[in-house]
Amino acid sequence: MLKLENVQAGYGNIIAIKDINLEINEGEIITLIGANGAGKSTTLMTISGVISARAGRILFKNEPIEKKPSDEIVKLGICQVPEGRHIFPQLSVQENLDMGAFLRKDKANIKKDLQYVFDLFPILAQRKNQEGGTLSGGEQQMLAMSRALMARPQLLLLDEPSMGLAPLVIKQIFEIIKQINTENNTTIFLVEQNANQALHIADRGYVIENGKITLSGPANELLENSDIQKAYLGI
């Protein structure tokens, strides 16, 4: 479904990712794990077209998208929940969700999807008219995921959805990721520091170090890998 071939990107003089190769098949949950500054967020932003790729190709359903502007990439069905949630602080919860459906015209289905995310996160229905910026961290994460779901993505990019959350909320968020994947057949590309939990719900994983993919394989094999255990699982 999505394929990165020798993708390179950066900021000014800094090359943040170089020669990234990876592939995501339809219906999979793929996780990308790596240390701080390894280039995970840069990879996602490059896929979303917010940062432009300096070299390499990004193929979505065999079509090159590395030159497309971000709004066209969203239109193709690739949505991202960025690191730090990026809730529109002065828009209400409802308006934030409306923004998620910005490119859609199918009013009836939008209404259905709104009901779907309210069922998923009932707290959001209660907070409908509250300003996004005043939600708690966990609520903001729920809102950020719901906003992305309002676009009915085919491929959902999640950047550290568990960051800064209490263990119980983290568990809930991971369960919902799994649920989104099975119920809607949404393909998921999950960036995580929380390697253990990420590998437990993922089909396959990639490891990124200093802007390069150094390891990849089925999630259960990566969980057994002694290098990964030492570096990312704290075993």
Binding site: V50, V74, K75, C79
Partner: protein
């Protein structure tokens, strides 16, 4: 008492013109964090366009209403075209440059446009045709409130209501608010941020052009320099109200207009600008983010 009401209305009239210009400063700042110093010149170009169109049409003896409508449309369209183009050539290429670069580009644009109009027209004051007649029904109060005051107040109120509606409820308005609050996220939900920035310049320029038309026919003369003075005042008003805040720009403008009017009327007209800027300094000392602004020191 009559004198007080007269000053009150003249203050509100001034304030609403400042507001039409201040909105452009504040909206552009809200979206891209730039003080568009060329904005005053957009207002001046609007006034000049209206001047040229109105003068030509009155020579051919068109009815007043037709002249007002055509001049108004021409001024808004032409000014918007300038606003759009200025963004594309002077600011967009510098969007990722250090903050100071687009600011300098803005000042350069402002100087360029002033001199361009100076060369294309003249440095003399030109008589602006009288577009707003004295209404008969206003006669009993004409010594306190002029007909053009009334027209300016009504027009700006209507424009403010339309603008509020657009920003609150329309698709483009929501996209503008989202882009102002978080540009990266706006891109990630599929907003074409370049289009939104262009739209902001176009709307701000159109408002300034209407302000230019109204004030020029109120005062009765224009020259190439009116944009600089009005621009500085409107910018002051926007900062006073809290730059980036739309209600703030309107509030700041009204306060500034009233202060100037009362201070000139009761104290002395020699110190008009002193009062305006003293007010600004005072407010910035006690509330640096302006009256309705959010505390944020990052942007300039």
């Amino acid at each position: 008492m009559d004198y007080f009401i007269e000053l009150l209305f003249s203050g509100l009239t001034r304030g609403s013109i400042y507001a039409l210009i201040a909105l452009g400063y504040t909206m552009v700042y809200g979206i891209i964090g730039l003080i568009n110093f060329a904005h005053g010149e957009i207002y001046m170009i609007g006034a000049f366009t209206a001047f040229i169109v109105a003068t030509v049409l009155s020579i051919y003896g068109f009815p007043l209403l037709a002249i007002v409508v055509v001049a108004g449309v021409a001024a808004t369209v032409w000014s918007s075209a300038y606003g759009y183009t200025i963004e594309k050539i002077a600011y967009k290429p510098l969007r990722h440059a250090p903050r100071l670069s687009p600011l300098i580009s803005a000042i350069g644009m402002s100087i360029f446009l002033q001199n361009y109009v100076l060369l294309a027209q003249t440095s003399d004051f030109l008589p602006f045709p009288e577009l707003i007649p004295e209404f008969a029904f206003m006669e009993p109060v004409a010594h306190i409130v002029g007909s053009s005051d009334l027209v300016i107040l009504v027009t700006t109120t209507i424009i403010m209501l339309i603008l509020t509606f657009v920003i609150k409820f329309t698709r483009i308005g929501k996209a503008m608010r989202a882009t102002a609050q978080d540009r990266t996220m706006a891109m990630l939900v599929g907003i074409n941020v370049n289009n939104i920035i262009s739209a902001t310049f176009i709307i701000g320029s159109a408002l300034a052009a209407i302000g230019g038309l109204l004030i020029a026919s109120h005062i009765g003369q224009i020259n190439f320099y009116i944009g600089f003075i009005a621009g500085i005042k409107a910018f002051t008003a926007a900062v006073l109200g809290g730059i980036g805040s739309i209600p703030g720009a309107v509030l700041g403008s009204l306060i500034l207009g009233l202060t100037e009017s009362f201070a000139t009327g009761y104290i002395s007209s020699d110190y008009e600008d002193v009062f305006a800027f003293s007010l600004l300094v005072l407010i910035l000392i006690f509330k640096p983010s302006g009256l309705l602004g959010k505390a944020e020191t990052q942007k300039v």
